[in-house]
């Protein structure tokens, strides 16, 4: 699973410079957003790679506000994974910290 995902990411990275239309960029971003929940469960270390690719695509001249919203959605997913792990760790340790910050707007 991990190797297949990495191969997919490499292919996307190779074709990224040739993506010039906003529609094509948005299609790739949408596909990456859809696989993030799977990554969180199985290969969490790949999440930053996916996010990097989305960021690189978003730096294209065809970037739209919709792609920035997609980035915010990924932020929220990473934040949720962290908060779940933090809550479990704090419960095990018998500690607690202040409430987490408000998630980014969509």
């Amino acid at each position: 699973m991990t190797a297949a995902l990495q191969a997919l990411l490499v292919v996307i990275a190779q074709i990224a410079p040739s993506l010039t239309s906003s529609a094509a960029i948005q299609a790739v971003v949408n596909a990456l957003v859809q696989i993030v929940p799977v990554l969180i469960k199985e290969v969490q270390d790949l999440i930053p790679m996916v996010k990097n690719i989305i960021a690189a695509l978003s730096a294209n001249a065809g970037t739209t506000s919709d792609q920035l919203n997609a980035l915010a959605a990924l932020d929220a997913q990473c934040d949720a994974a962290f908060e779940a792990a933090a809550a479990a760790a704090e419960a095990e340790d018998g500690t607690s910290t202040s409430a987490p910050p408000t998630p980014p707007a969509q």
Binding site: P17, M49, K51, A55, A56, F82, A89, P101, P104, A105
Partner: protein, 131 residues
């Protein structure tokens, strides 16, 4: 485009390493463009993912090391990551409110400081190598 992608990939590959700060500095020597805000946001997320993996380790008991989660490190990394996210969210919100404009230096400085704090904790407890 290729250079920018390589730069982003390098920044994330270095998450949890001492070179992260150097890569970040090199990437942000120019004014704070929207692209750099996105790079910064992704770097924050990479650091957050590193911290998340660490928090999922079993708690250190003195008998289950060396791959375990320190209570002291946990108490420091959680608020540090949350502060870093606040800085990230502020920058991203500015980008949404002001499309195409340069971000204020103050917001950028806040992100840099928060990232440095988190990076220091990661280095102190060797968190990036604990996965």
């Amino acid at each position: 485009m290729k250079l920018r992608f390589l730069l982003i990939a390098a920044v994330v590959a270095l998450a949890g390493c001492t070179q992260l700060q150097n890569a970040w500095e090199a990437a942000t020597s120019a004014p704070v463009s929207p692209t750099l805000v996105i790079v910064g946001g992704n770097t924050v997320d990479a650091l957050e993912a590193t911290a998340t993996n660490y928090l999922k380790l079993p708690k250190c008991t003195g008998k289950n090391g060396p791959v375990c989660r320190s209570v002291a490190a946990t108490a420091q990394i959680i608020p540090a990551v949350r502060s870093m996210r606040v800085a990230r969210n502020n920058l991203e919100q500015f980008l949404r409110d002001h499309p195409g404009q340069l971000a204020p230096q103050g917001l950028y400085d806040a992100l840099k400081a928060a990232m440095q704090t988190t990076q220091d904790i990661i280095a102190q407890y060797n968190i990036g190598a604990s996965k």
